[in-house]
């Protein structure tokens, strides 16, 4: 086997590591601006596939198939994002005789349509969020639309059938806003997914986003895993995930896992996939959608089960049988939390902060896993999402995992660009987070409150007066050393003590 990794960034590095551990050669692909990216340097081979714009490189099926042909790869790992849930790509791989490391194109197509996926869940006997069973007709009249909306009930969401990541989605509180919401949702969906179809879904009040990872082999075995809690979201984008969830009892876990496995079996699912549920305050859960690929947040599951999901994706694609102990996969060991370190400035509304990484020292040590995709000297480009690394902390208990994450965030150095590290340090101290009292509305609400209080809101960094003084002292010394000093002067006192040793070193040869 030789695997073409049809992706970039941390997930490409993750897949390359798995390949290397399995003795499988890996082939990276890269766009113009990614020549120096870490995945290119880490892979056994690397093929240039086009200009920096994703549409001209990482999204171009023909270029990827050419790269596979050129490199002699016989399998393709799509990662997440880009073409990972594109049925046409999976089909094109199959047609080209390549093993697509994921489910069949047919399954991708089914689960990629939110309405078709909901129908599949219903057939499997799993409750879905109340809503329309089929897309709204393009030419439905206002009265018919209003009736459909009343049937679902307000507040509701207008959602793109092909949607994802909050795009093509609008909240509607009453009928007056309905027509406008449908119009903008259709327009966004059309430009984002090339499909303007939308449908209605009831908006649950304070739901948690709980998802079940699963693996299915080609011999019919489906194994669900302990849940991931992904309710810390900003504008429908997950930023912190953990496993297990404080909101899920062992009994509820069994029920959610069974429901997820039922849906997967109903569509003959193979490979790694995730069923997303919304969990309401009463403990009822509703099928939301299925992601037919590896998730960004897969490491938290790996940390509490010990399973390497990426290696299993590859093994399943090779036709191996799942030989995992299904009971153990539902019995998490300890607790894991993931923070997504983005190149964004949390103090400027999470504005992207691309640019040159002048220094990088990821956190390490006990219980810490760093899944990074960048390196010092690399310029975070403006063309793709801004995820630089995922920092995962494991500990025997949730509180210890929070404490460990805080320790790791403090020792994580990224120089030259802004990142979300200060935000996570802040979050790890919030009473709601520490107590686990949060749902999917928590973060947007808190951020809105902070924004509303305007210029008086301190930044997430919350430097004490003493810390500010220390920074001022450092800045003054830095300026002094640069203004007066040679490098030797800059080196400080110890350098001189070391000069002898260095000189002696030079003689060793």
């Amino acid at each position: 086997m030789k695997v073409l990794v049809a992706n970039r960034g941390e997930i490409a590095v993750r897949v390359i590591r798995a390949c290397r551990e399995m003795g499988i050669p890996s082939v990276a692909v890269f766009s113009d601006c990614d020549r120096d990216a870490r995945h290119v340097r880490d892979a056994d081979q690397a093929i240039h596939i086009g200009p920096s714009e994703a549409a001209a490189s990482y999204l171009r099926i023909g270029a990827l198939l050419d790269a596979a042909r050129q490199s002699g790869a016989d399998a393709v790992h799509p990662g997440y994002g880009f073409l990972a849930e594109n049925a046409a790509f999976a089909g094109a791989c199959r047609d080209a005789g390549l093993t697509f490391i994921g489910p069949s194109p047919e399954t991708i197509a089914t689960m990629g349509s939110k309405t078709a996926a909901r129908a599949a869940a219903i057939r499997a006997g799993v409750a879905v969020v109340p809503g329309l069973a089929a897309p709204l007709c393009e030419d439905a009249g206002g009265a018919a639309i209003a009736a459909a909306a009343r049937g679902v009930g307000y507040p509701l969401l207008v959602k793109a059938v092909a949607g994802g990541g909050g795009k093509g989605m609008r909240m509607v509180d009453d009928e007056s806003a309905l027509a406008g919401a449908i119009r903008t949702a259709r327009s966004e969906a059309g430009s984002a997914f090339g499909d303007s179809a939308v449908y209605f879904e009831r908006r649950l009040e304070h739901p948690r986003h709980i998802e079940i990872q699963l693996l299915g082999d080609i011999h019919g075995t489906v194994i669900p895993f302990v849940e991931r809690e992904c309710s810390i979201q900003r504008r429908h984008q997950k930023v912190v995930e953990e496993s297990p969830s404080l909101a899920v009892s062992p009994a509820l876990r069994q029920r959610m896992a069974s429901a997820a496995a039922d849906v997967a079996r109903a569509v003959g699912y193979t490979g790694a996939g995730t069923i997303e549920f919304l969990l309401d305050g009463s403990g009822e859960f509703f099928f939301l959608e299925m992601n037919t690929r590896l998730q960004v947040e897969h490491p938290v599951t790996e940390m509490v089960t010990g399973v390497d999901l990426v290696q299993w994706q590859i093994r399943i694609a090779r036709g191996e049988r799942l030989v995992l102990d299904a009971d153990r996969m539902l019995a998490p060991l300890g607790h894991a939390i993931e923070c997504r370190i983005y190149a964004e400035d949390p103090d400027r509304g999470f504005m992207p902060s691309p640019g040159l990484i002048r220094g990088l020292r990821p956190a390490a040590g006990p219980g810490i896993r760093d899944d990074g995709g960048v390196s010092a000297g690399y310029t975070v480009p403006t063309f793709y999402d801004s995820l630089m690394a995922k920092l995962i902390a494991w500990a025997p208990s949730r509180q210890q995992a929070i404490d460990r994450m805080s320790r790791a965030l403090r020792e994580y150095h990224v120089l030259g660009i802004r990142t979300t590290i200060p935000f996570f340090l802040w979050l790890m101290r919030q009473p709601e987070y520490v107590a686990g009292r949060y749902d999917t509305t928590y973060l947007d609400r808190v951020l809105a409150e902070r924004a509303a209080s305007g210029a008086n809101t301190p930044g997430f960094s919350e430097l004490s007066d003493r810390d500010e003084e220390i920074v001022a002292v450092a800045a003054a010394l830095d300026a002094y050393l640069r203004a007066t000093g040679t490098q030797a002067e800059n080196g400080g006192p110890m350098r001189s003590r070391w000069a002898d040793a260095a000189r002696r070193e030079a003689l060793r040869g």
Binding site: A343, E344, R348, G349, F350, M351, P352, P354, G355, R358, G359, T382, F383, Y384, D385, S386, L409, R410, E411, Y412, H413, V414, L415, G416, I417, R418, I421, P422, L425, A451, G454, A455, G459, F460, S461, E462, L463, D467, E468, E469, I470, V471, A472, V473, A474, A475, A476, L477, D478, A479, Y480, A483, T484, N490, G491, G492, P493, M494, R495, S496
Partner: protein
């Protein structure tokens, strides 16, 4: 040697005097700190002062005298001698006069939320620019009237491009 250091909007006066190998007397707002300092990287200093050990990262922010400081996972914008080196009138500033909303990075204009003549409140969103797969709402720093919208939805814009002008 004396410096003006601005951190989080507060200006401090610092003078530095070398008192021995790796030892410095740093006077900050009149208080003298005896500091053992060592450069531990191109952009890092290790300081021992007032009974604590701290490593501070200080990386250039693209403009002379402007730095991003890092201290144990937290960051702060730092200006050194900014009054001496400060560029022309600041953009999107909170002072008086014209505000110009500029593209903070290359991207594509998604939506324009204000038209010439509109009154906008402080912190009101006026335009949405997409970059790095994210929609970024750019807000007015303070209340005013929109005098000019320089772009249209769908346009690609370079970093620094003026998008909206508010008076």
């Amino acid at each position: 040697m004396t410096f003006e250091i601005e951190i989080n909007g507060r200006m401090r006066r610092a003078s530095v005097e070398r008192s021995g190998p790796g030892r410095f007397l740093v006077t900050l707002d009149g208080v003298v700190h005896d500091v053992d300092a060592s450069r531990t990287g191109e952009h890092a200093l290790s300081l021992l002062l007032d009974g604590v050990s701290r490593e501070v990262q200080l990386a250039p922010n693209g403009l002379p005298g402007e730095l991003i400081a890092g201290l144990e996972g937290r960051t702060a914008g730092v200006s050194v001698n900014a009054r001496r080196t400060r560029r022309g009138p600041a953009e999107t500033d909170s002072g008086a006069g014209e505000q110009r909303i500029v593209a903070p990075m290359p991207g594509r204009v998604v939506r324009i939320l204000a038209a010439p003549g509109d009154l906008v409140a402080a912190r009101q969103s006026v335009i949405v620019v997409e970059a790095m797969k994210m929609e970024n709402e750019l807000r007015a720093a303070r209340a005013g009237r929109v005098t000019h919208v320089a772009v249209t939805p769908g346009m690609s814009v370079e970093s620094g491009r003026v998008l909206v002008v508010i008076e």
